[in-house]
């Protein structure tokens, strides 16, 4: 039962953390709750479809269907996170000002609500399909597996709770630092997801590895440990990164920063650009 709970917790964690960050980062944008909820609903639907078609997807593209699907999902999340951050760099200061006025609405600009929907959708869909398959296999085992199903549900609840904790933690950040911190979180999240996508494209044989192990820190922090997994999701920590993953990580980071600077141009963008290198690059 506990083993099942832990597996489900790990599957749910990535989606929960991503949703917590985008919910935090989109604070003050009217209507975001509805869009995020729709994203979760569609994501669960998509996850079930992927789970049902798992065998067919696996055999597509001469056995590389899954890797290509995963890479596509991840890259669309990266695109949406980029859009979100660029929009926020243009409107974040105004949002921050209006956060002080309780219940104030933001009236300007094309709001990145569709981006919120797509990010939640793909976050839920990617890990959700594995969770659905796993629970399904257990449930098919019959009555003796009832406690394992309970464990699985417990794991899902625990994952959602950690997401809620992160969200409420983010809300405690003072308003004047809030959006520069959430946009850093989104920046690192996007870079990490891009690196994951590169890994899948390499897995499918579509990209060269450019060196399989540029460095190896698994003896310091294993990527499969809980801390390792948290850092993997949040900032893209990889214990044994390949060259192509580094290229995607740094490339995404630079691209988003440049776009934020060119569209934002305000004080926040300059502060962000001056805050130095992310932790994962050492």
């Amino acid at each position: 039962m506990l083993a099942t709970a832990i597996i489900m917790f790990r599957e749910v964690l990535e989606a929960a953390l991503i949703i917590a960050i985008v919910l935090g980062a989109s604070r003050g944008i009217v209507g975001r709750g509805r869009w995020v909820a729709t994203g979760i609903g569609l994501g669960l639907l998509g996850a079930s479809i992927v789970a049902i078609l798992a065998a067919e997807i696996s055999s597509a593209f001469s056995g590389n269907g899954q890797a290509i699907l995963d890479a596509g999902i991840l890259l669309s999340a990266v695109a949406m996170l980029t859009w979100h951050n660029v929009w926020m760099s243009a409107h974040g200061r105004q949002l921050a000002a209006e956060l002080s006025a309780v219940g104030a609405d933001v009236q300007t600009g094309k709001r990145p609500l569709a981006a919120l929907l797509v990010i939640t959708l793909v976050a839920v869909m990617r890990e959700g399909s594995e969770a659905v398959l796993f629970l399904w296999a257990i449930a098919a085992g019959g009555a003796q597996n009832a406690s394992m199903v309970m464990g699985g549900v417990g794991g899902v609840v625990a994952g959602v709770l950690v997401g809620l904790l992160l969200y409420h933690g983010l809300l405690r950040i003072p308003a004047r630092h809030f959006f520069s911190i959430t946009s850093w979180l989104i920046l690192l999240l996007a870079a990490g997801l891009a690196a994951q996508a590169a890994g899948f494209l390499n897995q499918a044989g579509l990209l060269p590895a450019l060196g399989n192990t540029v460095w190896n820190t698994s003896h310091i922090l294993s990527q499969t440990s809980l801390t390792g997994q948290f850092l993997h999701i949040l900032v893209g920590y990889v214990a044994r990164p390949s060259g192509i993953q580094l290229v995607f990580y740094v490339g995404t980071l630079m691209t988003i920063l440049l776009l934020m600077r060119s569209k934002g141009g305000g004080r926040m963008a300059r502060v962000r650009a001056g805050e130095g290198a992310p932790r994962t690059s050492d």
């Binding site: 696996s58 899954q66 399989n212 214990a239 060259g243 290229v247």
Partner: protein, 112 residues
């Protein structure tokens, strides 16, 4: 400096990509049977890119995962998938089933 070493690995990676892939009948196979990997220690040649078949003979789905190899793939119940591995440096690479973490194995890459 970093750029130069990245360029160097880039060139060697591109070179490896152009190497011919092994013929289909000689693909290494990793079997999942009775919630065990067979063989538990899979020997693969180092320094070459190759295809690996993962065949699941159990009625449960598995998720072959390895942060060492940077691979993650669902293997449906009674199904099989093919993934690319390498080119690997000689050494040991852990892998496991994310749906049953007690199920573990190692790829041992050996030079010629």
């Amino acid at each position: 400096m970093l750029f130069r070493s990245l360029l160097a690995v880039g060139l060697s990676g591109a070179f490896a990509l152009s190497c011919p892939v092994l013929a289909a009948d000689s693909l290494p196979v990793l079997v999942i049977h009775g919630q065990q990997f067979e063989p538990g220690e899979l020997a693969l040649p180092a320094g070459t890119k190759l295809k690996l078949v993962i065949r699941n003979q159990d009625p449960l789905p598995a998720e072959f995962e390895s942060s060492d190899l940077s691979r993650e793939v669902l293997v449906p119940a009674n199904g099989e998938v093919t993934i690319y591995v390498g080119p690997l440096e000689p050494g040991r690479y852990q892998f496991f089933n994310d749906f049953n973490r007690a199920m573990q194995g190692t790829v041992v890459a050996k030079g010629n």
